[in-house]
Symmetry: C2
Subunit: 409 residues, 2 copies
């Protein structure tokens, strides 16, 4: 009997009626002879309410308590979906992270799944009982509840699929699959019927919200065949799999991603010594903050420099706090915060073999009069930092220039 993992995101379980619909989908999969593990997110909006409570109490909150509070949303949905399945005559039970258990690192709010004990789950599955698993959560070796970061239920689903050797992992969401660009910004955005792990990884990392980055990494590492599809329609969605499973393509560029929830911080008047940047990066790392898109302005006299970097808006309060407390240690003169930044990424396997993609990028943005504030490149992506107000125009024109609106035959 093949195992299938089906993950239902927040918008797919936002109401009791939608939960009943999810139950029906699972029943159909069972009737096709599969054994099903369902993974659920919190009902849409629930997590934001809980995060709001925590943030209202404190900006520098204890992350273990954040996890205790915020993980409750998935617990509720898991119980409700199990009840909805039982109502359809389908045997089902809910599983919390600590009950399976899903062991994670102790890095609260950003924990990594280390091991999943599948024994108890398998006992139930083999009896034909659907396992409804609360996504996003696990348990640390200290016995505390951990969470996997926003969108972490995707990772729960993929990790379960990997540990169970599942045939497929379906990610039900509110969009039809993975697009060449955000369809809310680019009306000519095309739905991709398949995409390679590596490309999907960069799309996710660069702001495509359809899948959590960690979940794609996990899927790539364990060769989990992922299907991203809408719970609101009956379209087949996008298959995320190995490059070798996909047919050869002429076009290298697969999609564009953009994020608007970035903040650029600039430390002005830092002593211009080589070790300084490293000190800042280590400081950020010790607070579990990813810094991205760095940029330095050296002064001519060689004494002071400015250092800019982009971070997630949600980390900004905390980062500003940490930096202010380290003002004496770092010896900077002033701290500037600029929320008016957007990050645009061009993504495709073997970007380096494409005819000068970066040339096209700068040419296109230049023609639109868009100022590039920082740039980074790898063999799979090209990323620029620009002003927020230019984001829509940049994405639209790049989509046309890279011919993403022309379907490949």
């Amino acid at each position: 009997m093949a195992y299938i993992v089906q993950k239902f995101g927040g918008t797919s379980v936002a109401t009791l009626d939608l939960i009943k619909k999810a139950a029906l989908r699972i029943k159909i999969e069972l009737e096709a002879g599969h054994s099903v593990v369902a993974v659920v997110s919190a009902m849409a909006g629930a997590t934001n309410t809980l995060v709001g409570y925590v943030r209202d109490l404190s900006t520098t909150y204890d992350r273990a308590e954040y996890d205790a509070v915020v993980s409750s949303g998935e617990q509720i949905t898991a119980g409700l979906l199990a009840l909805a399945l039982q109502n359809l005559g389908v045997p089902a039970r809910s599983w919390l992270g600590w009950q399976i258990p899903i062991y994670t690192s102790s890095h609260h709010t950003q924990a990594k799944i280390e091991r999943i004990e599948t024994r108890y789950l398998l006992e139930d599955l083999q009896k034909g009982i659907v396992a409804v698993v609360a996504g996003f959560q696990g348990v640390s070796c200290e016995g505390r509840v951990t969470t996997l970061g926003r969108g972490g239920s995707d990772t729960t689903a993929v990790a379960l699929a990997a540990f169970l050797g599942a045939e497929r992992c379906d990610i039900f969401t509110d969009v039809d699959g993975v697009y060449t660009a955000d369809p809310r910004y680019v009306t000519s955005a095309e739905l991709l019927d398949h995409i390679a792990y590596k490309e999907m990884l960069e799309l996710a990392a660069q702001g495509a919200k359809v899948l959590q980055k960690e979940s794609v990494e996990f899927a790539m590492r364990h060769r989990v065949r992922l299907r991203v599809l809408s719970s609101l329609s009956e379209t087949p969605g996008t298959l995320v799999t190995t490059e070798s499973e996909l047919k050869p393509r002429k076009k290298h560029i697969r999609g564009l991603a953009h994020t608007l929830n970035e903040v650029k911080l600039t430390l002005r008047g830092l002593p211009q010594v080589p070790s300084k940047i490293e000190t800042i990066k280590s400081l950020m790392e010790s607070h579990h903050i990813n810094i991205d898109m760095t940029h330095q302005n050296l002064s001519l006299c060689g004494k002071y420099m400015d250092f800019s970097f982009s971070i997630l808006e949600s980390d900004a309060e905390r980062v500003v706090d940490v930096l202010k407390k380290s003002k004496k240690q770092l010896h900077f003169y002033d701290l500037l915060r600029d929320s008016d930044v957007a990050k645009i990424s061009v993504i495709g396997s073997g970007l380096q073999t494409e005819l000068s993609p970066s040339h096209k990028l700068f040419q296109t943005l230049g023609a639109e009069g868009i100022m590039v504030q920082a740039v980074t490149a790898s063999d799979i992506k090209l990323t620029v930092l620009i002003s927020t107000q230019d984001a829509g125009r940049a994405v639209s024109s790049l989509h046309t220039v890279y011919e993403l609106d022309i379907e490949e035959k």
Copy 2:
């Protein structure tokens, strides 16, 4: 160092501001040299929302899943109160039922606490860390989340106080303590400064909502000194303790309790055989339903009888379901449901030594023209079933007749 348990009910943690106030109260107790365990309910209204979800999905829900869903409310408050304490510079952490663990029976939605492992809690307490415990929940030997019934956080608090050998258990609520009658019904109701366990137990069992019945039983069995007081004022509240700790009293009647959330069910046309009532009682017991205030009408011909009993309104759907399914087995003709019933109880230790209390009861209700539908008596209480519309009048007049509005010197 003495341990103090402080329980904060739903109205005492209904908002973030109230949670901060609860944190302040705990801090004061710490500064007085105590070691504190805080027990929290869900934020007022949260549990009702969750119960609503479950009931909307199904009337005959799986009680294990009900527990998984409904226990999440206390989890949220526990995390938030821990954060509020940390904000005041007080070291604190949240504890869920399974983390302590609080072991209970597997009787979901009405589980009983069997054992509390205090080792890990004590390790923290001895380091000066406040333990914030999610009330109402525990874990079964199967590793499922259980809940202790509505108001179960009181029992969590008392059980922790018993297992820790705490000096005192404070129950913070939205009333000033235990009254001679519900002050919303009887304006002359008096606040009791103390009451014996046995009397409190009957008041709780008969509808005084200030404490869960099981919590009083637990306190009585383990001699836990309970204090019921308001989180909104600074009054000392009511002490619930052993009779020997209380000063002798002249009056025997201590208070009146009433419930309006009762339903009277009548099975009409049952075969008039002695074993029939026992069969019905066993059937109800096997579904964990308490039946109360039974009443039989025998027919003159000796062939058929009617059997009435009262149950909690919240059990009514389920009981009617069970009875309808057992119609053939029980051989009744018709099932009547009457929601227009109220239960009024007169409570006091040594009621039998009082000069004919039942005589006074029937005389008073008779003079008010109130029809008594059923009556039961024990040495500590007298209970009658009457029409809902008569409840207010009955309680008021009995309060005067038993001189509960005259303070004892």
